[in-house]
């Protein structure tokens, strides 16, 4: 589990860490819109440079972000093959066996890869610089206006934060049950197919049972402490927009506007 870079909070103290989560989420969306505009080589060059600036501001090592890219290598090869077969426009570049590779195919693959790269990097920056709870609060506030349309923004946020709180507990539990069943002869590596299926069942059923028990206990504990869905509550963590937040959002907005201009020209 310790190797997963994507979605993990890295506790540094940086300019980006201190920004308001709502601002960071909004800025991410503005940036993503820009990424999906057909901005050409120049545009992607600028967007990449902007993102690199973001990485520097967050104090997060570039190698950490690159680590989360590794699984994409396979996808790159896959995309390359498909596109080479399908796209037959542009300048014919070279032939392998009887297959001619056209320039548009390579350009297409390049664009898709750059977009994915930028998308993953920007989300990694967001999750690495924002505590899960702050992220939840940010989502709750941004969903706030939707409360008028009966979207239960607070309950959604509560669900997310409880899920985040229980992930480590459930991982521990999974390991414990896996070991307990291994002691009863479950062999997920070498057993026959039928045995493997039973082995997985012997893991999933106890996990379900214990999760339901936990959910029930937790519901009792929450109710006993005065929680009731839909009841008005105050909030301990108060989010406050500072000047840096406004400047940051304005900067991202400018980048998006720049990209739009680039597309129109």
């Amino acid at each position: 589990m310790s190797n997963i870079a994507l979605g993990r909070y890295i506790p540094y103290d940086s300019l980006l860490h201190r920004l308001d989560p709502r601002i960071k989420i909004s800025a991410m969306f503005l940036y993503l819109i820009a990424v999906f505009l057909p901005v050409g080589f120049l545009g992607y060059g600028i967007l990449g440079a902007v993102l690199l600036l973001g990485v520097l501001m967050s104090k997060i090592k570039l190698s950490f972000i690159l680590k989360s890219m590794r699984p994409m290598l396979f996808m790159l090869i896959f995309l390359l093959i498909i596109n080479v077969f399908v796209i037959k426009t542009g300048v014919p570049l070279f032939s392998v066996l009887s297959l001619t590779v056209y320039s548009d195919a390579l350009i297409q693959v390049f664009y898709i890869m750059v977009r994915l790269l930028l998308m993953i990097t920007v989300t990694t920056i967001l999750t690495a610089t924002t505590k899960p709870l702050d992220l939840t609060l940010g989502i709750e506030d941004l969903l706030g206006p939707l409360k008028r349309f009966k979207v239960p923004a607070h309950e959604i946020a509560m669900m997310i934060s409880i899920a985040l709180r229980f992930i480590p507990t459930l991982i521990d539990e999974t390991y414990r049950i896996m070991k307990a069943q291994a002691s009863r002869g479950v062999d997920l590596k070498e057993g026959k197919m039928r045995e493997k299926v039973m082995g997985i069942l012997s893991l999933i059923i106890p996990l379900f049972v214990s999760s339901f028990q936990r959910a029930e206990d937790l519901a009792d504990a929450m109710e006993a402490r005065g929680y009731f869905p839909g009841k008005t509550r105050t909030r301990y963590k108060q989010l406050k927009i500072k000047r840096a937040d406004i400047l940051f959002l304005m900067f991202t907005g400018t980048v998006l506007a720049g990209m739009i201009v680039l597309v129109i020209l």
């Binding site: 934060s161 504990a221 006993a224 005065g226 105050t234 301990y236 963590k237």
Partner: protein, 274 residues
């Protein structure tokens, strides 16, 4: 009587009722223990008092107010409870956030929360752990955080539902000492559901549950000497009673059966007379 239960009935399963026509009263400011073998219905009482389970018949009154659908939220404000499993009642992602959870529910002004959190984290000795996540705390520490969260609501009654049964001896002692000091300093009514016979010895009043009914009730010094009855209910007796029993079999009778040091003194006197 701060708690008054009359003719209470409850069943998870109709054919096998969990609580049968139970009546009992608890005095304000007293330290009460409820004992009984597993499955005797003692934990169900706690959930019924908080309205987490719905009774089938009978009445529950807390501080003169009857528990109904309308009063249940008012009554929950008067009662704090700490459950058995320390993991399944930790709601926040840090100690600080967990204590804040109850305050948020009671619509405390966020500006006041920091001071309240500091006060109660301090009272339970968890000030140095405010930013810790639950996975980094011991069972005893988690239960102390749960107590801080409850105390911040200023409850009149504190219920401990086997709150120490999953803890190691160190955690057990931490929590027991803390509850004892809350009882002494805050005059909070304590209802502790427990298997710990030594905790029973130190309480003001003990209720013994069996098959959903009250089998015995009274002061611990009276109840704990009824060895055969306790044994028949699958319950333990205090160590001093076991000692006195062993000596009785040798023909030595003590005048006091609950005071171990007194017993050793009596033996010493016997020895010096010889």
């Amino acid at each position: 009587m701060i708690v008054s239960i009359k003719n209470l009935n409850f069943a998870y399963d109709e054919s096998n009722p969990t609580i049968k026509d139970l009546s009992l009263g608890i005095k304000k400011g007293s330290y009460n223990t409820i004992i009984g073998h597993n499955g005797s219905g003692k934990s169900t009482i706690a959930k019924l008092l908080l309205g987490l389970l719905e009774k089938q018949s009978g009445t529950i009154e807390i501080d003169g107010q009857e528990l109904t659908d309308k009063t249940v939220y008012l009554i929950r404000d008067k009662i704090g409870i700490v459950f058995q499993n320390p993991d399944n009642q930790f709601i926040g992602s840090t100690v600080r956030d967990d204590i804040a959870f109850g305050l948020e529910n009671h619509q405390v002004d966020p500006k006041d929360m920091d001071a309240i959190i500091m006060e109660f984290a301090g009272q339970v000795g968890m000030l140095d752990f405010l930013e810790h996540e639950p996975t980094k705390l011991s069972g005893g520490q988690k239960q102390r955080v749960a107590i801080a969260g409850v105390l911040a609501m200023h409850p009149d009654i504190l219920i401990l539902d086997e709150a120490t049964s999953m803890l190691d001896p160190k955690g057990k002692k931490e929590v027991n000492d803390l509850v004892r000091s809350i009882y002494e300093t805050e005059k909070t009514t304590i209802i502790s559901i427990t298997h710990d016979i030594e905790e029973v010895s130190g309480s003001d009043y003990v209720f013994v549950m069996s098959q959903g009914q009250l089998a015995m009730e009274g002061k611990p010094q009276d109840i704990l000497l009824r060895k055969q009855e306790l044994f028949d209910l699958s319950l333990d007796v205090p160590f001093s009673v076991k000692v006195s029993d062993a000596f009785k079999r040798q023909g030595i009778h003590f005048t006091q059966e609950l005071d171990l040091e007194g017993m050793v003194r009596e033996l010493w006197q016997l020895n010096s007379k010889q």
